[in-house]
Each structure stands twice: as C-alpha cells, then as structure tokens.
C-alpha cells in the first residue's frame, strides 16, 4: 500500500476513535479568571471533575481563560461565554452587574465569606539578609530606597499595594493629607511600573532592580519556592490590606447553556475542605480554619484591614483614588 494511503487510513481511524469521546463530554463549563490563578485552577479543575463524577456520574470539562482581571471582565461583557468568573478584585465582578446584569446584584451573598474562597495580603520581599533593614511601610518612604510595585493603573496587585500604604498612613496619622504625602513619597521611590504582578516579580528577581518588592503574599511565597529561598526573604509589615478574590456565577450564560447546577457546584467546591486545601497549597490563605491549621507556619498572623471596612468600599476607592485625575494620578505626576 502506498505510504500516503496508509497515513490517510491512520488519520481516519484516529478521527473515528476520537469522535465518540468528544460526544461523551456533554458538559463543558468555562471559568474566566485572572492572571496568576492559572496554576491554582490547573489543580482545582481535575479535583472538581473527579468529585463531580463521583457525585453525579457526569463527566464535565472545565475550560480556563486567564488574563488581566479587568480585561477578562470586559471580555465577558463583550460576549465571552463564561459560566463562572473568578476575578482578583470585586470591581471586576461589580462591572458585570452594572454592564448588562451578567452577574446577580447580590453576588456577594450567593457564596460563603462574601463569595471569596480565599484571601491573601500585601507583603514585602527583600533581598536575603534584608540589607536595607526594611521592617514596615515607613521604611519604604526613605529617600534613596527603590521600591518595586506593579502599576496600580493596570494591576490589581499594584492597586492593593497603594491602598495598603494609604490605609497604613491613614491609621497612623488619622489625616488624609498626611496619607497623601506618605503615598507620594513611597511612589517617588518606584523606578519601574510593570504592567502586572508577574512583571514586577521579574524586574525584582531577574533584572536585579530595587531593594524591596511589594506584592501579594502568594506571589512572594511562590518566589521563595521557585527561585530559591536563599536569595530573598519575606517581611510582614505591622498592618496590611486583605485581598479577597471574588467568585460569581454568570447568570446570563448559565441560563442560556443550562449549566447553572454545575457552575454553582464548581464554585462551591472552592469552599469545600478539599478545594480549600488545594488553595492553601498554592499559598493563598484558606477561609476554612481547620484547613488553615494544616499549614503551620506558612501563613503568619498579620493584622489586616479590608477595603470595605476601612476605606468605604470599592466604588468609593475607585472614584477617589484611581479614576482619571484622582489622587493616584495627582501623586504620580508630582513625583
């Protein structure tokens, strides 16, 4: 038989072998998520698929889409068929309520803990031995120090850093003018504004720029395990911000696709002990106290505040700090 025919036959038999498998996977859901959750959901998805199979006998496929959190939210409003969204900041879910009711207005009440399965906080990563003696937020405003922060305009991580510094200064001085002065000084020490948290990590660890990287705890812990704990160390400030990435079911899509049950179960799985343990393994702080205790020493106690309780909620923060011409724009131009 000519070789060409052999290949054609092979291809045909492969195709016929694959087709029934594709037809069997009746249910597919899409999780639209932010950038650095990629590794987390790579572990969550197979665990959920096995769990769902055991409970219902159904085989479900979970597809992932990752990108900048706000960009992902815009994609959903532009028609990306997400069954669930798992974002890194509440405004990116709120926008889905405002722009066409993709998500229920009371999404925070649909799941435990305000629909936030885990938290993380903003910490400092310094070079081994902490040569500049950086202990708290005050140290970051010292003249001559270089602080690496991702761009608050394009990154949730950077926004949390800015707000953590603001909240720290506000708590200390009880005076907004002083807080403004504080963040002005801090951002005057920033030599590079990377687009996202990962970019800032690269600048600090690979390009050797800066004395301190201010980033999420999970990112700092991952740097420790991936790039060598002998090069960097984590410093916990006296007060920081609690970042709680929110999750929500996209009503419009699950109604259209009839996938509400699976989508809800998928998000509920994040709150289950098994889901919480995977979350802890990925250096996010689990909500479940029992699961948290399985990671002794990994998540030191740290005093935190939330945007809702200390800064009047995200809508206020957005308008007051990050809108065009608002406080952040003013201080960054003055630096």
């Amino acid at each position: 038989m000519p070789l060409k025919h052999l290949f054609a036959r092979l291809a045909f038999s492969l195709l016929t072998a694959l087709l029934p498998a594709a037809a069997l996977a009746q249910t597919t859901i899409l999780n639209v998520s932010y950038d650095v959750s990629r590794e987390l959901y790579k572990d969550i998805n197979p665990a959920f698929i096995a769990d769902w199979k055991a409970k219902s006998g159904e085989t479900v496929t979970v597809n992932q889409s990752h990108g900048g959190s706000s960009k992902q939210a815009l994609s959903v409003t532009a028609g990306l068929d997400a069954d669930v969204v798992t974002m890194n900041q509440a405004p990116d879910v709120d926008i889905l309520v405002e722009r066409g009711g993709y998500v229920a207005a009371d999404w925070r009440k649909r799941f435990p803990h305000g629909a936030t399965p885990y938290t993380t906080t903003t910490v400092f990563l310094v070079r081994k031995g902490n040569p500049k003696g950086i202990k708290d937020w005050d140290d970051l405003t010292r003249a001559g120090l270089q602080v690496i922060v991702p761009n608050p305009k394009t990154s949730g991580n950077g926004r949390y850093t800015y707000l953590a510094a603001w909240g720290f200064a506000l708590q200390k001085s009880k005076d907004e003018a002083a807080a403004r002065d504080f963040v002005t000084k801090l951002f005057a020490n920033v030599p590079v504004l990377d687009g996202g948290g990962r970019g800032a990590t690269t600048t600090f660890t690979q390009r050797d720029v800066g004395d301190v990287l201010v980033t999420f705890e999970n990112e700092a812990l991952a740097i420790g395990t991936e790039l060598g704990a002998d090069k960097f160390e984590i410093v916990y400030p006296s007060l920081s911000i609690e970042a709680a990435p929110p999750v929500a079911v996209v009503e419009k899509v699950v109604d259209k696709k009839g996938s509400r049950k699976i989508a809800t179960a998928y998000l509920e799985f994040l709150f289950s002990p098994q889901g919480q343990e995977i979350i802890g393994k990925h250096a996010f702080r689990p909500r479940d106290e029992k699961v948290l205790q399985k990671f002794p020493g990994r998540f030191p106690a740290i005093k935190t505040f939330t945007v809702e309780e200390a800064l009047g909620g995200w809508a206020d923060v957005q308008a007051k700090h990050f809108a065009d011409g608002a406080i952040y724009d003013q201080i960054i131009v003055k630096r």
């Binding site: 722009r99 305009k153 030599p191 600048t203 690979q206 065009d324």
Partner: protein, 278 residues
Amino acid sequence: MAVASTRKVLPGFGLSLGFTLAYLSLVVLVPLSAVFLKTASLTLDAFWQAVAAPRVVASYKLTFGASLLAAAINTVFGLMLAWSLVRYTFPGKRIVDALVDLPFALPTAVAGIALTALYAKNGWLGQYLEPLGIKVAFTPLGVLVALVFIGLPFVVRTVQPVLEDLDTEIEEAAASLGAGRWQTVMRVVLPTLVPALLTGFALAFARAVGEYGSVIFIAGNLPMVSEITPLIIITKLEQYDYAGATAVASVMLVASFVLLLIINGLQSWTDRRAARAS
C-alpha cells in the same frame, strides 16, 4: 455616447476601484470609524481633558519623538545594510539577509523581554553600560532601542529591490564622466533611492508609533517619563473608560495620518524631481 467617449484604455477601472473601496472600508475604515464614533460620545470638555492631560501629552512626546528618531536611525543603518546585501558578496550573506526579517517574525513580547534582559543592569550589555552612566532598560532610551529593533526590516526591505534595479553601469558612467565618489553617491545614487528610503522611513515610523508589546517591558512605564501613548490607552480600558481610550486613540490616529501624508507628499515631490532630472 458619453460613456463611450470617456472609456479608458485600461479596462476594469470601475470594478477594481469598487473592490478597492469596499475592501479598504471593510478592513480599515469601518474599525477606524468605530474609534471616532465612540469618541463622539464625549463632550468637548471631557474629550479635551482626556487627550490634553499633562501625563497624556508627555506620552505623545515620547511616542512620536522616539518613533521619529528610531525611524531616522533605521533609515541610515537600513540603507547601509541594504547596500552591503545588494552590492557585496560575502560568506553567510543569505543568513544575514534572513536575519533582517527576524524582528518581523518575533512576537513583540519576546523582543521586549530579550532586550530588557540584555540591557538591565545585570544583563550582558547593561553591566558594561551602567558603570558608564548609560541606563537603557527602564528609561526612554530603552524605548528607542526597542523601536529601532522592531523597525529595522522596513527600510532594508524597501530599499533593497530599488538598489538591485540600479545598474552599476550608471555609477560607472558617472565616474567616467568625471564625477568623484562623493558626487556619484550624492547626485546619482541617493536621488534614486530617496523615494524608497522615505517609504521605509514612513513604515518604520508607523510601526513604532503603534508598538506596545516590546516597549512595555523595557520602558519602565513611569508617568511623565517613560510612559508611551498605547499604554495610556490600555490603562484607560482597564478602568472601563472606553470613550477616554478612544479619544486618545483618535488623537494618535490623526497625528499619525497627518505625518504619513506629509511623508507621502515628500515622496511624490522627490519622485517628480527625480523624473525631471533624468
């Protein structure tokens, strides 16, 4: 009949013009008009605030300044490269020829990361430049370096075919008529190349103005210092400010269009001059 009397020698004018217009509308005009429509939703005041904020103005200066400079650098060195590739034979010429296109093929993010790694203070080149006080990565100079990189192929590829068509006999004739080397280059070779050089310059410039991926890694993105206009647009989109983003985009579009018109006008002027001279 009137139609018969105005009939062109070359048939198919109506059809091809129709196709051209339809195609251009579909591919270029419709997306661009969406930009202007979205911008039109702003009041004049809001539009002005979006496009004339000091931060945005600083970014225009950097984007257009660095793009023009990068295109100029590429014009000079692109001409040299094209000249070497056309006029000389040397071992490995084909490989060098292929290398020229590499900046086209490389994903821009890869280019940005590679350049940053190279020019950072612990990079191969950066470690020698930094002690000399030359900082490239995370400065406006880094923006220029990235734009020179991505714009390299344009001038080479537009000048190369013209150079190939240029008979060396013309230069020999000039020489035999008593022209010096300098005179031959300035009065015989360069005038023929100017239109192609201008095209290359325009292409390299246009590409540089729109470049985002490679610049973003090396720029440092500091407001008022090393923030490019495309980043401002992305920033506005991240804040769900579609209208503001398209307002800045429309300013960029109009400015680029005007500059390209000027370059094209210059080109046809030199074309006519060259035609008159010969």
